[in-house]
């Protein structure tokens, strides 16, 4: 296993410790419950925004805690939803007079933990709502599954509700905005390699030297199909052909376009993919109002990418434009 770790079981706490040491003025780390909280939260004139999920998706979500984004994050172990109690404790510590919004990517484990936490928080008198994010078009909805997965598009939901909360919007309004952005967002990914969870120590699945997994999940879950690797052009086409008709996006639309790295893909390749996606959308008459190129939501060290489109209107655009300050930064 080619990783910088000490002890696989200490991977998450040691990462959180490093994050806290790098941001002593703005973040508080609560080791007993794996919490990363804004040092100055709760603000009683703002709704508090919390997201939890398994770890391994960094910068999501612990490195997205900051002014204009999340007030707190409650990660679980790698790829495992946090225990209910961690979510509840985050809600307790960030309970503001205006309420708490729990953001959850739509996975069985997360859904259960957050629903239980919401019930318990509510019973304790905390004003709390839960919002599920499910932007992944790869896996179709069905009677049997709990629905689509939440992947990289959740960055946009966080950004928008974070901006609305910073502007003083109330909980109902923030839930409306979050649902609206989630409904306007579509993502699909592709993996060229598997990822290696520290505790497992070996790649999560076998994949041939010339194979790729189209529609992969951010936990290495299989996607739509395993196929022979093709060119960057063909990969972008396949992703866009799944995403565009799904909303649908159409000529005349203004969109935010994100090309996200899954952890092991360098930014050079992401920009190469961005150029292709940009050109394809332009051909279809879709204009790109904002763009995002980098690793926003990863699957540990997986070599892969995902493409996200968000249909913009004036409201969403201005929420995405609003300033925000988070640990992941350049300067």
């Amino acid at each position: 296993m080619k990783k910088f770790i000490n002890d696989p079981q200490a991977f998450v706490p040691e990462m959180l410790q490093g994050l806290a040491l790098a941001n002593p003025d703005t973040l508080t780390y609560v080791p007993e419950f794996n919490l990363i909280l804004r040092a100055d939260a709760p603000h009683h004139d703002r709704v508090s925004i919390i997201q939890g999920s398994g770890s391994g998706h960094e910068p999501a979500h612990v490195m997205l805690v900051g002014d204009g984004m999340l007030d707190g994050a409650c990660p679980g172990d790698v790829f495992a939803a946090p225990p209910t109690e961690y979510v509840l404790e985050a809600a307790r510590r960030l309970a503001s007079d205006k309420g708490v919004l729990l953001l959850v990517n739509n996975y069985t484990g997360d859904k259960m933990a957050f629903e239980m936490a919401e019930e318990l928080a509510d019973a304790e008198g905390i004003k709390v709502r839960t919002l599920f994010i499910n932007d992944d078009v790869a896996v179709e909805d069905s009677l049997y599954t709990i629905g689509r997965r939440g992947v990289a598009g959740n960055f946009f939901v966080i950004k928008a509700v974070g901006a609305a909360a910073a502007a003083g919007a109330d909980l109902d309004e923030i839930v409306r905005i979050g649902e609206k952005v989630n409904a306007a967002t579509r993502t699909m990914g592709v993996a060229l390699t598997a990822c290696t969870p520290p505790a497992k120590g070996t790649p999560l699945f076998d994949i041939g030297d010339d194979e790729m997994e189209v529609g992969v999940g951010i936990h290495g879950e299989p996607g739509r199909r395993r196929t022979t690797m093709t060119s960057a052009n063909e990969i972008v086409d396949e992703l866009l052909e799944a995403i565009i008709p799904d909303l649908p996006f159409s000529s005349g639309d203004d969109v935010a376009l994100m090309v996200n790295g899954l952890g092991g893909t360098p930014i050079s390749e992401l920009y190469l993919l961005y150029g292709i996606a940009h050109a394809r959308l332009a051909e279809k008459g879709i204009s790109i109002g904002r763009n995002y190129v980098g690793s926003y939501c990863t699957a540990l060290d997986m070599v892969g990418t995902s493409v996200t489109l968000v249909k913009l209107d004036d409201e969403i655009r201005s929420l995405l434009e609003a300033p925000a300050h988070i640990p992941v930064r350049i300067f």
Partner: protein
């Protein structure tokens, strides 16, 4: 399983919980490997971390009655286990605890009530039914086997052995199913051909409980 005295009842329940805990800790790698086939490889890890804590806290649980003891275990588990397994196993233990509220001893029928309550809790929590390729596919037939045994007043040890055999067969049979719940459900038909990790865990636990019965 026909304990009349409270001490024996307590001991048997405690021993069973301890067997579950030590078996899950001992099978961490195996359970992770099962979950790597179409899941995310952390099933064993999640259980092991939770049950390690149960064993660590073992002596400190309130033992006023059986239900209270079991509730303590349930609380450790739901606060310590993440993923799907935290809510599922935490709920199962909690419901089982509630099913024997204020009991000082356990009859065979109480065991059936506990298992039924656990199953109902798991179904409510995760929305799964038998056939969805989850641990229910082993736990439900196991429970039915015990229900029949108790109704027939069967000898406990033999009944437990039959239940373990049923759990094993049912768990292996999940290989033929398509996962409809949990992470594996995203893989669609690719989940066919490998058994459900949770169901196999049920079989392994049942077998170890029988072994520890001696």
């Amino acid at each position: 399983m026909n304990d009349s005295g409270s001490t024996t009842g307590t001991t048997r329940l405690e021993n069973t919980v301890k067997t579950i805990a030590t078996t899950c800790v001992a099978n961490e790698q195996y359970f992770c490997d099962l979950d790597s086939v179409v899941g995310d490889g952390d099933f064993g890890y999640s259980l092991a971390r939770g049950f390690e804590k149960v064993l660590e806290d073992w002596d400190s649980y309130d033992r006023s009655d059986l239900s209270t003891f079991l509730q303590g275990v349930a609380t450790t588990m739901s606060s310590r286990i993440g993923g799907t397994s935290g809510p599922i196993w935490g709920t199962a233990f909690l419901r089982a605890a509630i099913a024997i509220k204020s009991k000082q001893s356990l009859e065979g029928a109480d065991v059936v009530s506990m298992l039924d309550a656990a199953i109902a809790g798991i179904k409510k929590r995760g929305g799964a039914e038998v056939g969805d390729k989850t641990l229910l596919d082993a736990l439900v037939p196991l429970t039915d086997e015990i229900r029949d045994g108790v109704a027939e007043n069967a000898e406990p040890r033999a009944m437990a052995e039959r239940a373990a055999k049923v759990a094993r067969e049912s768990a292996e049979a999940t290989s033929a199913l398509t996962a409809r719940r949990g992470r594996a459900s995203y893989t669609g038909d690719r989940s066919i051909g490998s058994p459900d990790p949770g169901a196999i865990a049920m079989a392994v636990l049942a077998e170890h409980i029988v072994d520890s019965w001696a």
